[in-house]
């Protein structure tokens, strides 16, 4: 099954929920859907197209909005599902009910970008330490880090 057939099937099954679908290189497909249709698109990918392996979930800070990419992989194609959510109200439905392996990636999205994933089974932060000040989301473009001045204990002040 090659990329053309996949594009046609996508247009056929999801009709106008597909906002945009591109094929920039062999075995690479990018499809954009709106946030409300995300679960349905993932369901279609998993049940009918056989894409049950989720490689990872990437988040990109586009300035006014966040773009979330779900990278699915299969024996013959790497399919990326793209969706966009606003910066003021970043809400995203969780796909853990369909793909249990997505839990770690969604936890990372939550703490790195400040996105709230609804119905996530385990909302604890994944990577950052416990005393991380709330409201600091490192992977946002406007988060800058100033290295504190180096103090050598017991040395010259």
């Amino acid at each position: 099954m090659n990329d053309q057939i996949l594009i046609e099937k996508a247009k056929e099954s999801l009709k106008d929920k597909v906002l945009e679908i591109t094929n920039p290189a062999p075995r690479r497909l990018f499809m954009k859907v709106a946030v409300g249709n995300l679960l349905e698109a993932v369901n279609w990918l998993k049940k009918e197209m056989g894409f049950s392996h989720l490689s990872t979930i990437s988040g990109v800070d586009l300035g006014q909005s966040f773009e979330i990419l779900y990278h699915f992989a299969n024996n013959f194609c790497s399919f990326t599902l793209r969706t966009e959510i606003s910066r003021e109200n970043p809400l995203l439905p969780s796909i853990c009910a369909l793909i249990p392996g997505a839990i770690l990636y969604e936890r990372e999205l939550q703490e790195m970008f400040g996105i709230t994933v609804q119905n996530i089974p385990d909302p604890r932060p994944l990577l950052l330490p416990d005393n991380w000040p709330a409201g600091n989301y490192p992977l946002r473009k406007d988060w800058k880090y100033e290295r504190p001045a180096e103090v050598i204990p017991g040395g010259k002040k």
Partner: protein, 400 residues
């Protein structure tokens, strides 16, 4: 009586810090939980402030054992962004170093599996042979880890006749010894008694929990990025995807040993068919604004990079998903039915290469059982405060 046992962050079974907390009843594990973040260095944020070439240096240092995987995956993606195609000889050398890295990583894992199981003799023998591979890598690139062989557009160092001969000779020795390990690892009764039936992950679980690499292939699922999504010269090289269907740690051992033997064949093919020509092309400074996904089969599993450029000489976003992160969800599932004695083995069987978080330490209060994770600088400050008022003890002077 339920006990909570912390394995890590500091534990002799772990080579890198990770917080694993298992709840046990006697020797049987009832529940497991994972705490990440002890090795995070903020690489994704850092990569946004460095140029494309500087990022090769940065990505290489994500991991020592699979450093070539990270640079190759990154450089492949950037080459697609810049729309350049490296010459054949460069691709062959890149694949050669990739397969050598796979061999040395799997030999390392075999030794570590032996050590975790208590079979130290096996560990010593396998690591002695790993030295042969490290010597080859040093002859090719000048370094035992962090080969720094990749650049955007090809590789940096060429191979000559003497090096090719040295590699082929060493392969003979390695092949003989690897056959011996195959027999030893799968037939020695006390070793097999430790590995068989441990860390069972059924085929359905492996697929739904999105496991990658030998963990997935030992459950009978033939997914290998080198076959599914060929990069470099894997579409010209004949090889087979190695699977096993016992779904336990013994299966993973067998898959890795088979992969070592396959790699020997691939390296021989590459060296015999090495084309002549240049090894790199010139790369432009700025790519057009675009995005690309690059996948690579690292020794531990599928490595995926998502790179987005915005037309300047610094990337807009680089997202790295190392293969071990993909295996964590499967690890928790595997731990839930085992014994304590199996925890290091199960954890070592996914070949952990923990490389994703800030430096922090967990303090468990022995009295209340409460746990906090605090960063290293605060820990240092609190310990300095405590010992500042104590007078120093005189050191014992020995006449020796």
């Amino acid at each position: 009586m339920n006990f909570q046992i912390p394995i890590g962050p500091q534990h002799p079974a772990l080579k890198e810090p990770i917080g694993l907390r298992v709840v046990v009843e006697g020797e049987i594990i009832r529940d497991a939980d994972l705490r990440l973040g002890y090795n995070h260095r903020g690489i994704e944020k850092l990569a946004e402030s460095k140029t494309w070439i500087q990022n090769i240096y940065l990505e290489e240092r994500i991991c020592g054992i699979c450093s070539h995987s990270h640079t190759t995956c990154y450089v492949q993606g950037v080459e697609k962004l810049m729309e350049i195609q490296p010459p054949k000889r460069g691709l062959y050398i890149r694949t050669l170093v990739a397969e050598l890295e796979r061999i040395h990583s799997h030999l390392l894992w075999l030794g570590v599996a032996g050590h975790e199981a208590g079979f130290d003799s096996f560990f010593m023998y396998v690591w002695r042979d790993r030295e042969i591979v490290m010597d080859i890598l040093e002859t090719i690139s000048g370094n035992r880890v962090h080969y720094a062989n990749n650049t955007i557009g090809g590789v940096r160092r060429d191979l000559d006749e003497l090096q090719v001969k040295h590699i082929l000779d060493s392969l003979e020795i390695l092949r003989k010894r690897s056959e011996f390990y195959k027999n030893l690892g799968t037939k020695e009764p006390s070793f097999v008694a430790r590995l068989a039936g441990v860390g069972y992950l059924s085929k359905e679980d492996a697929i739904t929990l999105c496991a990658v690499g030998p963990t997935l292939r030992a459950s009978g699922v033939p997914m290998d990025v080198r076959k599914d999504d060929p990069y470099a010269v894997y579409d010209e090289v004949p090889f087979e995807v190695c699977t096993a269907d016992t779904c336990d740690v013994l299966g993973r051992t067998v898959v890795r040993i088979k992969e070592i033997l396959e790699s020997y064949n691939i390296i021989e093919f590459l060296l015999k068919n090495l084309p002549a020509g240049p090894i790199a092309v010139r790369a432009p400074r700025r790519p057009k604004p675009n995005e690309v996904i690059s996948r690579y089969e690292a020794p531990r599993g599928e490595l995926i990079y998502y790179i987005k450029s915005n037309g300047t000489e610094k990337p807009e976003r680089i997202k790295v998903r190392a293969p071990t992160l993909g295996n964590y969800a499967a690890t928790i599932k595997m731990l839930k039915k085992g014994f304590i004695a199996d925890v290091p083995l199960i954890f070592a069987a996914i070949d952990p290469c923990i490389a994703c978080a800030e430096r922090a330490v967990a303090i468990v209060d022995a009295r209340t059982g409460q746990e906090k994770v605090v960063p290293m600088n605060i820990l240092r400050q609190s310990s300095q405060k405590k010992s500042a008022n104590k007078e120093r003890k005189r050191e014992v002077e020995w006449p020796l």
